[in-house]
Structure formats: structure tokens, C-alpha cells
């Protein structure tokens, strides 16, 4: 929940005062030989702690059952005393803190997934599940593989216009120039009749985190798990999105390679339907909104060449 550096000073002070007072009371009871009161005092304090914590926690989490509250209390106190992290929060598809960069990952028992996010969690060392927004209590520690954003996004791949292929201008930064050219180069494909084209592809997509039981999402989870060890990125969700977008791009290139130039310019601009196996865990719509050629002074849909 918190480490030593971020431990709440008010809680520390209260805990210190509580301990002092409890010790003081126990000493008095020992002096007065009231050993039954001594045991009673311990018990009462402990039970009072549980009841109070349970009551106060229900203000924030009214739907949590008593057993879970008891577990949360136990873990909160141990986290407070030993300073280990037991809770992880995910906001906007991003895991808070440096959790993913840590070599020795803390044992997470409590998971908070906030709005528009989902967490990919490895349980029992083998089972991967997706958790949607909510507060989760895990009796056995879990490993969070990454976070996903459920928001709809738009990705634009390819040259914006014919000027994308222009030589570097005087005022242009070298890195900007390379970014411009390499962005366009990504969509380079050669049609069956040997015409080199570049496409402007606009993809609306979101990761389908709702139907976790479907085969599609099992594939997604496998993909996530396989890509996890190699991704040193702090956010594997972003890596995953790039992998999926790359697959769509490759699918489009295959379509171009299997079509003639005339077929391409006849059918597009328009909606493109990728192969079904590309749609792993994704809800998407793909539009091809421009076809360009490098060595001509025009770009886009060549209507009159149909």
C-alpha cells in the first residue's frame, strides 16, 4: 500500500501514541495483578480495531463482504508495519508508479482498476485474466502483467499528403524529416502488376475488454503474456496496441500485393475489412482514405484511371 518513504505521518503518530498508551495500561494492569483484564484489554482493542476498520471501510466500499474486509485489515496493518506494497492502482490504462520496472515485484493483494481501464493479471502463476473497473481482493498474491485502456482510439498510418514525399526543406529538422518519410514508408506496398503505392490508413480501434470468455480474448491474453517478458516498456498495453496495429498494416499490404492497381483504386477510398484472425481482442473499423504514388505529382484516389 505504501512504502517507508510515503508512509502517512498522521497514521505513524497515531500508531506510536496507541502503542505507548497500550503498553502503559498493560504495565499498570501487571502491577495491579489484574491479568484477566490484561487479556481482556488486548482482545477488546483487537476486536475494536477490526470492527472500526470494517465500518469505516464500508464507507468507501459498501459492497465488500466482511471476510474481505478482515483480509484487507490484516494486509493494511502488515503493510503499515513492514512498509511493503500490497495495493496497485490503474488509472486511464496506466499502472501507477514504477511497478512494471521493478525486478522484484511486490506481492499484490489489492487491485484498484479505475474507469476506462482494465488490468491483465497473472494468477496462480499460470492463469491470466482481465479485470475490469472495480476493487479486487486476492487472497493469493498476483502479478499484474499490464494495463489496457478501453477507450476508443484513432490511429493514422501513412502519408498525410503528397508533400510527405518532398525532399527535406531548409527549415525542417532532420528527425522530423525522417519521421515524415518513415511514417509514409510503413505503408509502402507493391501491387500484383508492379505498381508501388503508399496508403493513408485510418483505424478506429478499442481493445475489447468486456467479453473475457471469448476465444478472441484468450488469444489476446496469450499474446499479452508472450510479449510481456520481452517488453521493457513501462506500459506493455501500448506495446500490445502497436503489435496489433502492425498486424493490420501487414494484412493490408498482403491485400495490395494480391490485387492489381486498378482494383485498388476502384475499391478505395473505402472501408477495409481485415482478415478475421487479425481481430484478436479488438473492435475496429479500418478506412483507406488515400492512395499515393511516389514518382507522380498526384496522390490519392485516381478516379479517372478506372
Amino acid at each position: 500500500m505504501q512504502n517507508d518513504k510515503t508512509r502517512d505521518s498522521s497514521a505513524t503518530l497515531t500508531f506510536f501514541l496507541l502503542s505507548i498508551l497500550l503498553i502503559f495500561i498493560l504495565i499498570i494492569l501487571i502491577f495491579t495483578h489484574e491479568y484477566s483484564w490484561l487479556v481482556f484489554n488486548f482482545l477488546i482493542t483487537f476486536i475494536l480495531c477490526i470492527i472500526t476498520f470494517s465500518f469505516l471501510l464500508s464507507v468507501f466500499l459498501p459492497l465488500l463482504n466482511f471476510e474481505d474486509k478482515l483480509f484487507v485489515f490484516w494486509k493494511s496493518v502488515s503493510s503499515f508495519i513492514f512498509g511493503n506494497k500490497i495495493l496497485l492502482a490503474i488509472n486511464n490504462g496506466i499502472i501507477e508508479g514504477d511497478y512494471l520496472l521493478l525486478n522484484n515485484k511486490p506481492k499484490i493483494h489489492l487491485l484498484v482498476v479505475n474507469d476506462k481501464s482494465a488490468a491483465v493479471v497473472l494468477e496462480n502463476r499460470s492463469q491470466t485474466n482481465i479485470y475490469q473497473p472495480g476493487f479486487y481482493v486476492f487472497r493469493k498474491p498476483i502479478t499484474v502483467l499490464g494495463a489496457l485502456s478501453s477507450e476508443l482510439k484513432i490511429a493514422k498510418i501513412g502519408p498525410e499528403n503528397q508533400a510527405t514525399f518532398d525532399p527535406k526543406t531548409h527549415g525542417e529538422n532532420l528527425s522530423d524529416y525522417h519521421a515524415r518519410i518513415s511514417g509514409a514508408e510503413k505503408t509502402r506496398a507493391i501491387t500484383r502488376d508492379g505498381v508501388e503505392i503508399f496508403s493513408l490508413i485510418q483505424i478506429f480501434y478499442r481493445i475489447d475488454v468486456n467479453n473475457i470468455e471469448t476465444e478472441i480474448n484468450k488469444d489476446l491474453l496469450n499474446l499479452f503474456r508472450n510479449s510481456f517478458p520481452i517488453s521493457s516498456s513501462p506500459q506493455p498495453g501500448i506495446v500490445l496496441e502497436n503489435v496489433l496495429l502492425e498486424k493490420i498494416l501487414n494484412d493490408w499490404k498482403r491485400t495490395v500485393e494480391n490485387s492489381t492497381f486498378k482494383e485498388i483504386v476502384t475499391n478505395f477510398p473505402g472501408k477495409y475489412h481485415p482478415q478475421k484472425e487479425i481481430l484478436i481482442g479488438l473492435i475496429l473499423e479500418v478506412f483507406i482514405t488515400g492512395i499515393y504514388q511516389l514518382n507522380k505529382s498526384f496522390a490519392g484516389l485516381i478516379q479517372n484511371e478506372k
Binding site: L18, I25, F80, P269, Q303
Partner: protein
């Protein structure tokens, strides 16, 4: 809200009463069993000549303020305080950061369900910023003034959503009850999307189609509620309007291209005639058509297109007597255009339901014409 206030006061009274009951129990234990023995010193009330009432009162006070009672009361208070701090630390993770509320404020307002006198003015919320991204999630109880022509989406403790729409300039605040939170404010101004159909070999080529749409967020039935819940999960209020307009544009292009393909097939023979009819000017137009076809962002044309148009002012002039034979706008019946727009509306609905999980807009009007 009045009920909430009453409940809040009642809870507070019960808690104060509970405190005094516990204090009294401790005082009774202190008098009856006296576990501290000689260490249980109390207040020094040792007057010898006391009347009975004074004696009783002094005994009561002595037991209430005895060392045993006070120490245990302090112990109890510290236990409550320590548990409160533990819960508050958890709350920091459970509740997203909000500049308007501390975790403590959320805690106490929920515990006592106090009426929110807190007035939050979000009327100047920048539309490109999502409520979530701008860290402005607002927890109840509070009163929020939202921008005109926008919808406030409020979530209760059972994750049910309700929507309050403000269709005009309205200074009446939206009331968010205790246990509720304002999760999104979306802009629901009626919008329009223009599609430039230059370069497509359609009868109305060279014109714009302007499609007007409205948002379907003013319905609050349960069916809509379910679809809205999906929409809220996927919607980023910062860019969803741009996305909707882009979807309309791309769907239009897709449909117009299909329409043109079908037209070309039907007029295959007529196409040959076009070549024969075409004079020098039509050949020139043909070449210029090769120049570029591009969906202009936000109805803005690229510079080189503007340049081309300046060079050839008659290029898009469909009334020019030398226009090519396939530019026969007058020959297109109105019902055909209407059917195209209806087909477009269906396609847009399908895409919206696929992407957003619900039909959130409705194309209400269209206009063809107006040269670029």
C-alpha cells in the same frame, strides 16, 4: 437532498450518543471493578460536608474522569483514528485525484451523507479535455454547473448511470448526491460534417455534402442507460466529436465510391460516349482530376489544391457549358440523393454501434451544393 441531510444529522447524533454510552460503560467498570486499583486516581473532589446530590454528582464525575476511564477512552479514540488513517490511505487509491475533494472530505460526506454546499463551476471546462484527464472527477455530494449544451453522466454506487442534459444556458447546478460521482461531461451540441466530393466522378462532383447530426443523449430509459454505459467506457470526451465527424466523412467516401462504381458499371456504354463527347476542355479536366484526391481535414483544403483551383477557375464550375458529359447534376433525382443519405445514415449507425456500443447520433438533415 433534505432526506440526506436528516439522515446525516441522525447518524451524527447516534454516533455522539454511542460515544457517551461507551464512556458511561467505562465509568461503570471503573467504579464497580476498579481494575487499576490504587492507580485509578480521579478528580480531587474530597469535600467532607456534602449534601447527597453533591455527593452523587461528585462520584459520577470522579468515575467519568477517572484515570481508567480516560485512558481507555483515549485508547478507543486512538484505535478509531488509526483505523481511519488506514482506510483513508486505501481511499487515496480507490478515488481518482480530484482538485475539489480530499479523500477525507469524500469520507465524511459519505459517512454522514451531508448535503453538498460545495458548488463547483465547470462551465468553462475546455471541451478538448476529458473530465477524467483533467482530474476533475467530482464526487457527491456537490452541486456542479456544467457548460451549456452538454450532458453530465453521473454514476451511483451500484454503477448505474444517469444523464442530465443541459440544452441551453442554464445556471441551475446539477446536483450530485452522496455516493455518486460525476464521471463525464460530454458536449452534445448539434454538429455538422462536410464531405468534399471533388475528384469523385459523380453527378454532383465539385460540390459539398453537408450532413447535420444530433446526439441521442436526451433519453433516460433503462435501455439507453445500458448502451450509454458502454459508450461512457469507450468515449474520450476530448476527441469523440472529432471521431464521429471523421467516421461520417469516411463512411460517406466509402459509400460514394461504391455508388460511383455501380454507376460506372451501369453506364459502361455511356462511358464510351463520354470520351467521344469530351472536347479539349474535358481532357484538361481529366488530367486535373489526376492531380489529387484527398479528404481535407476540417473542411480545409490543402494549399496545392487551392493553387490548382486558382489556375483553372472553370475546373469545378459545373454550370460551364463545356462541362464533361458525366457532370449531369440536374439529371439526378432528389429521391436518389435521399436514398444515398439514408444508406449513409444506416452505415454510420452500424459503425457507431460497433465502435461505441450504442447509436449516439442521428443524421437529421443534409444539404448538397455549395462549391468549395
Amino acid at each position: 437532498m433534505k432526506n440526506n441531510t436528516f439522515t446525516g444529522i441522525l447518524k451524527l447524533v447516534i454516533m455522539i450518543m454511542l460515544f457517551f454510552i461507551i464512556w458511561s460503560i467505562l465509568a461503570i467498570i471503573s467504579t464497580t471493578w476498579n481494575p487499576y486499583g490504587p492507580f485509578n486516581f480521579g478528580l480531587p473532589i474530597t469535600s467532607e460536608n456534602r449534601i447527597l446530590s453533591q455527593s452523587i454528582l461528585s462520584d459520577i464525575i470522579a468515575s467519568y474522569f477517572s484515570f481508567f476511564t480516560i485512558s481507555h477512552l483515549l485508547l478507543l479514540s486512538l484505535v478509531v483514528l488509526f483505523c481511519y488513517f488506514l482506510v483513508r490511505n486505501l481511499g487515496k487509491y480507490i478515488f481518482s485525484y480530484s482538485p475539489y475533494h480530499s479523500t477525507a472530505r469524500i469520507f465524511f460526506s459519505r459517512l454522514f451523507a451531508f448535503n453538498g454546499n460545495l458548488l463547483i463551476d465547470l462551465s468553462n471546462l475546455h471541451s478538448p479535455n476529458s473530465l477524467l484527464n483533467s482530474h476533475s472527477i467530482t464526487y457527491g455530494p456537490a452541486q456542479v454547473i456544467i457548460p451549456p449544451y452538454s450532458a453530465a453522466i453521473i454514476q451511483d454506487k451500484n454503477n448505474q448511470l444517469r444523464i442530465i442534459t443541459v440544452l441551453g444556458i442554464d445556471n441551475n447546478p446539477v446536483i450530485i448526491n452522496s455516493w455518486e460521482k460525476l464521471i463525464e461531461i460530454i458536449d452534445i451540441k448539434n454538429g455538422s460534417s462536410s464531405i468534399n466530393i471533388k475528384g469523385i466522378n459523380l453527378p454532383f462532383s465539385g460540390k459539398r455534402i453537408c450532413l447535420k447530426y444530433r446526439y441521442l443523449t436526451d433519453k433516460t430509459t433503462n435501455a439507453v442507460n445500458n448502451s450509454i454505459s458502454t459508450f461512457v467506457k469507450v468515449c474520450n470526451s476530448g476527441n469523440y466529436r472529432m471521431m464521429i465527424e471523421s467516421i461520417i466523412q469516411f463512411e460517406s467516401l466509402s459509400l460514394l465510391n461504391q455508388y460511383q462504381n455501380s454507376l460506372n458499371k451501369n453506364q459502361h456504354t455511356a462511358g464510351r460516349n463520354i470520351k467521344q463527347v469530351g472536347d479539349n476542355n474535358s481532357v484538361r479536366i481529366k488530367r486535373l482530376h489526376r492531380q489529387f484526391y484527398y479528404v481535407p481535414p476540417k473542411n480545409k483544403l490543402p494549399l496545392f489544391l487551392t493553387r490548382n483551383r486558382k489556375r483553372h477557375p472553370n475546373f469545378y464550375n459545373i454550370n460551364n457549358k463545356n462541362k464533361p458529359a458525366y457532370n449531369v447534376e440536374k439529371a439526378i433525382p432528389q429521391d436518389e440523393l435521399t436514398s444515398i443519405v439514408h444508406a449513409l445514415s444506416r452505415n454510420v449507425d452500424r459503425t457507431m454501434i460497433h465502435l461505441f456500443g450504442s447509436k449516439i447520433i442521428e443524421i437529421v438533415d443534409y444539404q448538397i451544393g455549395g462549391k468549395d
